[in-house]
Chain length 391, copies 4
Amino acid sequence: MAIEGRNDIAGRPIRLGMVGGGRDAFIGAVHRIASRIDGHYQLVAGAFSSTAEKSKASGRDLGLPDDRIYGDFTEMAKREARLKTGIDAVAIVTPNHMHYPVAREFLKRGIHVICDKPLTSTLPDAKRLVKLAESSDALFILTHNYTGYPMIRQAREMIANGEIGRIRLVQAEYPQDWLTEPLEATGMKQAAWRTDPARSGAGGSTGDIGTHALNLAQFVTGLQVEALAADLDTFVEGRRVDDNAHVLLRFAGGAKGMLWSSQVAPGNENALKLRVYGDKGGLEWRQEDPNYLWFTPLGEPKRLITRNGAGAGEAAGRMSRVPPGHPEGYLEGFANIYTEAAAAIRAVSAGEPVPDDVVYPTAHDGLIGVAFVDACVRSSKRDAAWTRLAI
Amino acid sequence: MAIEGRNDIAGRPIRLGMVGGGRDAFIGAVHRIASRIDGHYQLVAGAFSSTAEKSKASGRDLGLPDDRIYGDFTEMAKREARLKTGIDAVAIVTPNHMHYPVAREFLKRGIHVICDKPLTSTLPDAKRLVKLAESSDALFILTHNYTGYPMIRQAREMIANGEIGRIRLVQAEYPQDWLTEPLEATGMKQAAWRTDPARSGAGGSTGDIGTHALNLAQFVTGLQVEALAADLDTFVEGRRVDDNAHVLLRFAGGAKGMLWSSQVAPGNENALKLRVYGDKGGLEWRQEDPNYLWFTPLGEPKRLITRNGAGAGEAAGRMSRVPPGHPEGYLEGFANIYTEAAAAIRAVSAGEPVPDDVVYPTAHDGLIGVAFVDACVRSSKRDAAWTRLAI
Amino acid sequence: MAIEGRNDIAGRPIRLGMVGGGRDAFIGAVHRIASRIDGHYQLVAGAFSSTAEKSKASGRDLGLPDDRIYGDFTEMAKREARLKTGIDAVAIVTPNHMHYPVAREFLKRGIHVICDKPLTSTLPDAKRLVKLAESSDALFILTHNYTGYPMIRQAREMIANGEIGRIRLVQAEYPQDWLTEPLEATGMKQAAWRTDPARSGAGGSTGDIGTHALNLAQFVTGLQVEALAADLDTFVEGRRVDDNAHVLLRFAGGAKGMLWSSQVAPGNENALKLRVYGDKGGLEWRQEDPNYLWFTPLGEPKRLITRNGAGAGEAAGRMSRVPPGHPEGYLEGFANIYTEAAAAIRAVSAGEPVPDDVVYPTAHDGLIGVAFVDACVRSSKRDAAWTRLAI
Amino acid sequence: MAIEGRNDIAGRPIRLGMVGGGRDAFIGAVHRIASRIDGHYQLVAGAFSSTAEKSKASGRDLGLPDDRIYGDFTEMAKREARLKTGIDAVAIVTPNHMHYPVAREFLKRGIHVICDKPLTSTLPDAKRLVKLAESSDALFILTHNYTGYPMIRQAREMIANGEIGRIRLVQAEYPQDWLTEPLEATGMKQAAWRTDPARSGAGGSTGDIGTHALNLAQFVTGLQVEALAADLDTFVEGRRVDDNAHVLLRFAGGAKGMLWSSQVAPGNENALKLRVYGDKGGLEWRQEDPNYLWFTPLGEPKRLITRNGAGAGEAAGRMSRVPPGHPEGYLEGFANIYTEAAAAIRAVSAGEPVPDDVVYPTAHDGLIGVAFVDACVRSSKRDAAWTRLAI
């Protein structure tokens, strides 16, 4: 309940490069803010667009010197690897199909990679990237940013501590409404690449947001989905990927679940929601009001646990900056992934193991996401037949 | 916004009998209160228990004279049909397996039946009851009480008026938590019969609450479920019926849906919720906060329509008693079904057609519910294979 | 958490008369529904309007025989007192200025009075009525209906049990918006008499709703307001009574408070809200969502106590009819006052004392309300000077 | 509804110094994060503590070189003013009584000041500081951070556009619970200085949070408080300043209001709330859920306007970084003040006027806050007599 801040200890900032994220991009700016919030990074280089001209303009907007702005990511990887004060890490914020080729260039040169999700646009690429990441000395961090929310860490900790008992049910949903109409036909860039299978992958809502919901469900519960039955739809005429997915889930160990992702549900801005029920209690969390976690111990009144408030534990406290009642949001959750990554990068740079309490999504988590999209598409083609989520 | 009440016009009360609903019952008392709220009924007779002793005691509690308290529903039907001031209508509030035999005795004697849901415990009984109801001069009203909520009527009217466009998605859920532990093993009566297939039917959560969710979805949207894929579970050891159901829905005309019913989700008291999304907007309603309807016209801010408040229409107004901000609840919603039934009974008694705006669930609606349970059980046995909801 | 109903034990219904409450009235219909819900009363007579014609028409609407419909309340009192099966009790639902003269006629003839609030339109009348009530064999029940809400009883019980410690702060507010514009100028009846000092009293919002807020604050906390400082306003031009009141409160024992009543606050339908803070915890309750009580024990997470749910106690349980998650509302809360009154009337009729757990607002409570309005008006005239709430 | 980010254009970062904000401080870390979020500042120097040792340690934590870490703010001002790449601006985050002396040293050397609130601990200091700020070439920005919230800007814009008509009522409240017990007696640093009149000023809750509520009320409505009547309390024994304030407000032009600040209201973490009602509509906003603004146009359903969502305008859009449904919070709101300050500093540095749409709280706003505390204390001493808020 006390008003006390978190110390923001910096040391030498990690030198960060960026691939993608030029003018008019969405997620690039988010990564940049996330990298700045805790002061662990400094953006020093980038290939912000595949068009050299646009990359240059974007880099200058960001105050970078011309010789650190690249029109080509391979060139960037090569040169930065040679520079004395070259980048320590690169943020990849391109459309999905470029994640693998870009990551490869940097990983193989020992540059840490912080990559947006989903991992790749195809399953083979995902498998290759996992291998690459595992064999590289550099770290690979996937920004399944919702795992950075303090109350998600709180829920995970409570479940690990047995506070809701043995898990029976996992209800995950992620409805949005921004693609209710054929926005991609209007030339809107964010809609265009997200609905283009060549750039985004075979999944639409499944890949763009369903992967988040799945990842969150597994992250919080510690359970793995074994099989799924998916009914995918494309409600908007002419759209080339799913814009709605209804999915039944079966977890290893016997828990069951539902997952709903949609981009055509008017009134839902970004309504990711996770509910987990065990034989001793239940937990509920909503992304749009992320500072709250509802906890019901069976047979007792529902409790509202707040970030940094009474009842919040160590795992959430590590991820918080300000006292309860001072809401943190999406960008702080995202920044938490960057800050975990910084801790890992610094440990590795110092030749030390990554501390146990530092947690971030990995290439393997990303592979699960891509396999999820693949399984959804295959299940749906076979009339929602049960399909194993094999990795 | 004005403070004005609804006139409560009575005329001669309808003479009501009751079968079931003795001491310690739940739904019998609810029906009695519902029948009293608008003053259209007077309880004058009953067979409150299959044990004559208990029936007598219960009837006396209710102030009935001994000669109108019966130990046997057949005897009651016979005698009341002969009495000059015998009952006009009977409320059937027994466990499910008795609905059909009881209804038969009264319907065939021209006594109107107001029957609790689900219609019957078996599909054959349901089909027989529909035939009987269709061939009887008496009316058959099924208390799918949630259709009596004013804001449910509001949602139905708005959808019929095209306010959310063509429907794409129907998300229905009905989680509870009261059977998280094996309450039936403690001798608790309500749990015991509800988990006994012989008395309740083959479905557990599907029959007890899933039917409500399905009925509401169809009532509000005007769409029919064509097929479903159901994954039923019994999480509590030793329980003989499902206590959780995950169901995918396909509606005639192309809309898709999900239905979740559960009695093992801690933190959910009676959390029936319906969300409907069309290509022009969305609607959301929660039973536990029934005076609110969320409406999002695509591209505009979300609006909170309140019972009798600004933006609420005629269909909801008919079902309201007090001004906005004065919450009506479960019992008033239930009473609305009784009041619709009274209007229908009075019309029929006067030899007139039931007015167009009088709406209540019928035996046919009940048959759909029983067929739903049947289809869920069959689908689940075939590993959630798609199963037609054939009637 | 179990699904069990409350037994509705009746016995011989109490014969009820009504004064006021004719066609187009608001609160008369509410009283009638409230009297029916638990089956303790039967409406058998009434003087529904001061116009004989209108009284007759209203009585017939309600199914009463002509010889029990009166055009004059004095005639009604006289005749009903003489009838063998005359009324046991009368509900007074006239404009405020008639409460005293009507109550007098019935009280002095030993007929119990259930009277709407505020007690009277003037302080002298209120004092006279208290004396009369105290000296009468008949009971006087004031329908400060909000005290009938189960979670209000819950809050009162928790405070009495010391669960929030010594009370420091009481924040009461009751904003509405229905008089934002000069509705009384349109001929709207409810607005007309409520803004007419001759019929309503010197207070506008203070009398109509401020008295409810004050009564609730005192009922829940058990504390008495000693002095107040009130800043009253009439924002709508031409209005003759206050439509907004800002009041500072000082309670005996040192607690402090604020009370805000308003009828010109757009977006507030009937937003009565009470918050009480002690040195060990806090409680919050909102009339528009009456089944919830927020409880924060100091240093612990906030808890949501629900009607009949986990954590709800005996005082709330007595006032509940249906399981948690099945919302009860305004009419049930109102009915609880009628049911408490029935218990008291039956006890008195049987020559027994009123049971300890039967609680209802009295004439004395009503006097406090009228004194509150009087003190507000006097304080406001002296520029919000502190004014004792002397009784 | 589209997913598009805000461009984060930087240019040369503004060189920032800090006075106060050493280890264990709260607001210093907040200022540092706020300064980083949009990339407009780089922290290059500081006097983080009045103890040279602690200042050094804190500065090193933050990665500063020793020669830019000072043990004394005067020395810092002198040296930084002389350095070629000395600081452009200084953030003052000391206890209140130091704001004036520190600001003076920097302002008189032409270094821009970004100062925490309240402006000063005494009214004479506040008046001196305003004069100083007005006569200085450097800018003075006061971090009444809540004015940086996008939906506060939205509310302000809507009111200026007349969307709720002529304002009648302003209900402001700011309850907290962290000082319910005598935390200052435990040695907790944040509690200690905030309850010490010498460091904090004559007001407790009034100064610490009441000033925020007042500032927000005036900022959003554009109205000035003319007079107030305040009832201050100190509920915790031994505390030397108020921990609760009940205040009546009168605005120029006839609007009325209430302001409640409290630090002893269990269950309230940081529950700043503003409600404004006019003759055409109402607005409601809660700091703990800052991405939502409730808007009720009179006679229409309540609408939920969300940050960057449908219905949000230009003023809020300027202050947003991410799409609707991706919550921004306290730190982003705080960062918005820093970003407005950056725009102003850059304009002034370029010899240009500050753009019209750049808005931040000034020394004059701060003077109003200090005068508010002074008036509250004086009013309360005279038994809540009306006291002019004279400046």
